[in-house]
Symmetry: C2
Subunit: 298 residues, 2 copies
């Protein structure tokens, strides 16, 4: 189904969007901030939504930070987001393991990723191995690694972006994945992520190394997988018809919202162009920036 | 086309194989040695072939060692292989870059791999960057890495097994691969390799990380790619009808030989079973080990 996107330029349009939706789900990077710089007017729009008793939810594929660490980033920009408002891919992966896989709590989890994943898993009661353990920074040797023999209590490998990725981490994760009874879950499978004008290897790039070696495909939890949206809808008891997804990417954020039956608003402060957005026929609405909403409303 | 493999058990069969072939192309691991242990009778068979003026060629997908380093391994087992008898996937990749891509010699090559690749490229006159450079062992930071900005003279990325794989190496290789004019060549794309009873991540597992991030597929040079066999046939001026490929794996060695129009002999000292070999219908001949040839001949 193709939309004819509406460019948001008037107070009337804003009022209609506000009337029709109770819950605003946001991608963060490219929408609220760009790296370490806040997007002008974004915080004002968030505050406006809160003053109108709208529910606000932040969704991010960044698995290196826990929800708690995310709220600290919001605080820097003068917005007091609560942990309950943040859904990161690390949290989505941990929730998936708990609610859908129903991995027993006396199982352990091997983490190929950073502290965000470990924190979210531990909060749900899982003991983690691997992750940022400094002994994994040593060169791999089968005869000296402290991670062999394998721990038979490990029931899952959860993998995400890991700037500490190396052969040692891949070799041990592979040993666990060679056992088909060990679940394989990815926070997200983004091939790249933008940082300071560069395109860097994303979570999917780290995960693909062990996926290829093991011949297995992980269950992906981040955007645009509906596992993430299902977890949010279930957790918050949302009515999808009254939700709108706000993001800066057609192939993740907008697809995520549209596939999940939400309204969609694309902002042009990220990687898409207005021309590309109109031609895609994907979003319901297009705005120059998130700040436009509070500006036009007042 | 399916073969009915012949199990080699008599002197007459050996004589027929020797009569019909001038060139014996060998996989090494699982055929001549298993890790650091020589397979009984293998060296005697190599010496027999040499005494009968047969040409002997060793083909390996191991890209971490150069041909020269390989001859040293043969020397340990009491066989004086020459560098010209060894075709490694690092050499195949370097030759491919030189002969087929015809990359100018004043271009540089970014190496995601170990010293074997660097040595083979340098021998053909290419300056290499990356590889085992110790500065790549540091944690990646876009602002401190000495490998940015990119070197505009780099015309190709050659990737192979790299037990030093890490985010720094992936990030820089990706920056080069984002330029579609930079060639992308893999020594081989084996997903795993066996070592001391373990299955470890192979070259393909390291390479897949940057392939996925860049959205590009490398040209693979090792077995079973015919790029490797074409390079050998061209280099040695071989008559394919008078060549036999000897190996221990159906899906690489035997496929490699059969696809290239060679006869094929599977030895059972590696990973295949006799039952599986017969049922596959792939090899022309099956022998319990390479040693069988010299034993039966004498």
């Amino acid at each position: 189904m193709t939309n004819s996107p509406v460019k948001v330029t008037s107070k009337e349009q804003i009022k209609q969007i506000l009337d029709e939706h109770d819950t605003f789900i946001f991608d963060c990077d490219g929408v609220i901030w760009l790296g370490s710089h806040v997007i002008p007017g974004a915080i004002e729009t968030l505050k406006l939504l809160r003053s109108l008793n709208k529910q606000v939810i932040f969704v991010t594929n960044n698995s290196t930070k826990s929800r708690k660490t995310y709220t600290q980033k919001f605080a820097q920009f003068g917005y007091d987001a609560t942990k309950e408002e943040v859904f990161g891919s690390a949290y989505a992966a941990a929730t998936y393991l708990d609610k859908f896989v129903q991995l027993p709590k006396d199982s352990k989890v091997w983490v190929y990723g950073e502290s965000g994943i470990v924190e979210e898993l531990e909060e749900l009661g899982y003991e983690c191995l691997g992750g940022t353990d400094e002994r994994l920074n040593e060169k791999f040797s089968a005869s000296t690694t402290p991670f062999l023999p394998l721990d038979p209590k490990v029931g899952a490998v959860v993998a995400g972006l890991d700037t500490g990725m190396n052969y040692h981490r891949s070799a041990i994760a592979l040993q666990y994945l060679l056992n088909p009874d060990v679940h394989f879950i990815a926070t997200n499978i983004d091939s790249t992520f933008p940082q300071k004008g560069m395109i860097l290897p994303g979570a999917g790039s780290c995960i693909e190394s062990v996926a290829y070696a093991s011949g297995r495909t992980p269950t992906a939890c981040g955007k645009p997988s509906q596992n993430m949206l299902d977890a949010i809808v279930s957790d918050k008891g949302l009515d999808r018809k009254r939700c709108i997804m706000v993001g800066d990417r057609l192939n993740t954020d907008m697809k995520f919202g549209k596939d999940g039956g939400l309204s969609t608003l694309l902002v042009l402060t990220g990687i898409e162009t207005e021309k590309g957005a109109f031609e895609s026929g994907v979003p319901d609405y297009i705005a120059d920036s998130l700040g436009v909403i509070s500006e036009l409303y007042e």
